[in-house]
């Protein structure tokens, strides 16, 4: 017996020409996405490492690179959070700057390190919450809200820096800040055994954050409801999920993570400046997209995001080692992003084709459970 109910895909298909809001992309949520990234990263590490042995230098190459991976992974998670509901945050940079600013002011007033960090995270979360409220209450596109927010922060942050400090930067010497930002496992010793020198402590903060976010999405009610909201806001609303609250809190989460990344960057460089976050926007998208998070919402991959970031940073490091300048870097980053988008699309078309072929042969759509794997 054939599957008999024609699905009214017609209108959707046409809409997609302008707005690819298809929910039929579950096929692209493939786990091999992450496997592919791991293989690619391994190959690049071997290639770069053998061509340029300085790559293994813990102090000048490996350490800073892993620090970058740590910070940018959190940036990627910040974007991933809003992507999980099919929205975007263009103000990741601004929110990171705000986070850095908040932490700097608190630390400057003598707050202990942890309090300063919390203030920074809350400052970022507050910006995100404002965006979330505007998105839900005023029913405005997240894109525009966060774009406008980024403009406002672009002006606000330097203005506040100028107001609270004489220079354009705040440098604080709170106990623990330098250790957090610049220590590596080499500084941690048990007796006479110390860790390797190339692994910064920030990496552990980043991993802890990833674990919390991943657990939240995979195992908690709020995380599940958020993903379902991303899958279909309409259905979520009619399934008794408090959609408005989920959207607002996801924006706040995104802001909090961005704020955390800002604090981490400030800690790693030793001073807080308005330029924190300026470089965040592109990587924030690269990580999740390369990692398999869908732009349309409903699916996230924390590990994939981090691997995507790792790949990006690795390429960047490789280019620097080979003496390619900043212009090459930008060109390459943009190209990688375009390429990732294209492969996403190709995968999409392929999975559609195979399902089409299946139905042409008169059997119900193939039901490979691997295609349906939805994991955080």
């Amino acid at each position: 017996m054939t599957s008999t109910v024609p699905r009214p895909t017609v209108t959707r298909r046409i809409d997609e020409r302008i707005n690819p809001s298809t929910k039929e992309r579950f096929g692209s949520a493939l786990s091999d996405n992450r496997v592919g990234l791991v293989v690619l990263i391994a190959l690049l590490v071997v290639a770069i490492g053998s061509a340029r042995p300085t790559f293994w230098n813990p102090q000048f190459v490996m350490g800073p690179m892993l620090t970058n991976i740590a910070i940018y992974s959190v940036v990627g998670l910040s974007q991933m959070a809003v992507l999980s509901i099919g929205q975007m945050n263009l103000a990741v940079g601004g929110m990171a700057a705000t986070g850095g600013l908040g932490a700097a002011i608190a630390l400057d007033h003598g707050a202990p390190l942890v309090v300063g960090m919390v203030v920074g995270v809350i400052a970022g979360a507050a910006c995100g919450a404002v965006c979330g409220l505007l998105v839900t209450r005023a029913d405005v596109n997240s894109f525009v809200v966060t774009l406008a927010m980024s403009f406002a922060l672009l002006g606000l942050v330097p203005a506040v820096y100028g107001w609270v400090s004489t220079g354009a930067a705040i440098t604080v010497d709170t106990p623990g800040l330098a250790e957090l930002g610049r220590w590596t496992t080499a500084n941690l010793c048990l007796g006479n055994t110390c860790g390797p020198a190339g692994v910064p402590l920030l990496l552990f903060l980043s991993i802890a954050t990833m674990v919390v976010v991943a657990f939240g999405y995979a195992r908690t009610r709020v995380g599940r409801e958020t993903l379902l909201t991303g899958s279909s806001a309409q259905a979520a609303l009619l399934s008794a999920i408090p959609v408005g609250r989920r959207v607002t809190s996801v924006h706040a989460l995104s802001g909090a993570l961005a704020g955390l990344a800002g604090v981490m960057l400030g800690a790693s460089t030793g001073s807080f400046t308005p330029s924190i976050g300026q470089e965040f926007l592109i990587p924030s998208f690269l990580g999740p997209i390369l990692g398999g998070t869908l732009l349309v919402g409903g699916y996230v991959s924390v590990l994939g995001t981090s691997l995507g970031i790792a790949l990006t940073v690795l390429i960047r490091q490789g280019l620097l080692l080979f003496g390619v300048g900043i212009e090459g870097l930008n060109i390459l980053l943009g190209s990688v992003l375009l390429l990732a988008l294209c492969t996403d699309r190709i995968r999409d078309v392929m999975s559609q084709r195979s399902r089409l072929r299946a139905s042409l042969q008169g059997v119900p759509a193939s039901e490979p459970s691997s295609e349906g794997k939805v994991a955080a």
């Binding site: 209108t11 809409d15 020409r17 998105v135 806001a233």
Partner: protein, 356 residues
């Protein structure tokens, strides 16, 4: 029956122009703000703002914001965005500049190259959007990164001075009727666009695709073509902006276009262009660009930090969007309410049809 229709007809007629009225009201508000701004600045500077030099400077630096605002408007009209406005403009200006200064390209050809480079970049954006069917924002984010890299690769840290294109410079310093020629040029472009969006078939098709892609498809209008055309137009206008840069600035370097993003969005959004697509507001965009310019002038007059301009404009954009969207068709997250008979007409009201 006929009673039916005439009643409906009558009520339709009574409400007939309210959509246009909304847009007109917004335009009136903008004009009012412009007047207030001018008065405040004049009083503050005890008339100095109206001096010849001051007026010249004001319009000299208004031409480019107007054109890039229109460039953004062209993509907004089809429900897309172009983050690469600045990158395309910077790239086109630097490419033409390098070719004229280093490769000895004739100046007139350099001008053509600037415009055509912009057009080509826009078309590429459009083609990628259509092929990948991915949100135009992400695509232009990628091309923006690439183009700014290319721009840097072209000029590096050097500033290519305008000595290589004296003819363009003399155009840029021309002041017919006491107002810079390049501003007249930007106004002419605005006028041309306004006419085109009203009368040209291809532009009407773009608006149809932006307003309702499904209806467009059912009428045999190719949405893909509309998207490519809109991105192409946007790129073309970026190229024109690049040409204006060559005319008016002392040289080109890697930072050209770097700060265009905010003004390019601010002008059309404040000017009343719906972000959902389907409408344009040329006059509104020009007026809003003028207001942004007034804010910048005021900032200089009160000797404030330049970042305050970003703050003010960002806040105004946020406010405009939040307030304006409330009156518009809900197209955001939650659209539970199916259009019922009693509410349909109000909830679908979109003040976007007219071309102001």
């Amino acid at each position: 029956m006929s009673g039916d229709t005439t009643a409906a007809d009558r009520s339709a007629r009574a409400r007939r122009w309210s959509a246009k009225d909304l847009l007109r009201r917004q335009t009136t508000t903008l004009v009012f703000v412009v007047i207030v701004g001018v008065v405040v600045l004049t009083v503050q500077s005890s008339g100095g703002f109206l001096s010849r030099i001051s007026i010249e400077t004001f319009f000299q630096f208004l031409a480019i914001p107007v054109v890039i605002g229109l460039a953004q408007m062209a993509t907004l009209a089809v429900g897309q965005m172009n983050l690469a406005v600045g990158a395309i403009g910077g790239f086109a200006a630097c490419l033409a500049g390098i070719l004229m200064a280093d490769a000895g390209l004739p100046v007139w050809l350099g001008a053509v190259v600037a415009v055509l480079a912009g057009l080509a970049c826009g078309l590429i954006n459009g083609v990628i959007v259509v092929l990948t069917q991915i949100n135009g924002f992400i695509v232009t984010l990628a091309t923006m990164t690439i183009l700014s890299g290319v721009q840097y690769a072209l000029v590096g840290t050097r500033t290519v001075t305008s000595d290589a294109w004296p003819q363009l410079q003399s155009l840029g310093s021309a002041r017919p009727l006491g107002v810079p020629l390049i501003f007249w040029l930007s106004l002419a472009i605005a006028g041309l666009l306004s006419l085109a969006y009203r009368h040209a078939l291809v532009a009407r098709k773009m608006l149809a695709s932006g307003g309702n892609p499904l209806a467009a498809t059912l009428s045999g209008i190719s949405n893909s073509r509309s998207l490519i055309a809109a991105h192409g137009l946007s790129g073309l206008l970026c190229g024109v902006a690049a040409l204006l840069v060559l005319c008016s600035l002392p040289g080109v370097n890697k930072s050209i276009g770097g700060d265009w993003l905010l003004p390019s969005f601010a002008a059309p959004i404040i000017g009343g262009v719906a972000l959902t697509g389907g409408g344009v507001a040329v006059l509104g965009t020009v007026l809003a660009a003028t207001i942004v310019r007034l804010v910048d002038t005021a900032r200089a007059a009160f000797q404030l930090d330049p970042s305050w301009v970003n703050l003010v404009i960002g806040a105004v954009v946020l406010g405009t969007v939040a307030l304006g969207q409330a009156n518009r068709r809900p197209k955001g997250l939650v659209r539970v309410r199916p259009t019922g008979p009693s509410r349909a007409s109000t909830s679908e009201a979109t003040p976007t049809g007219g071309v102001a």
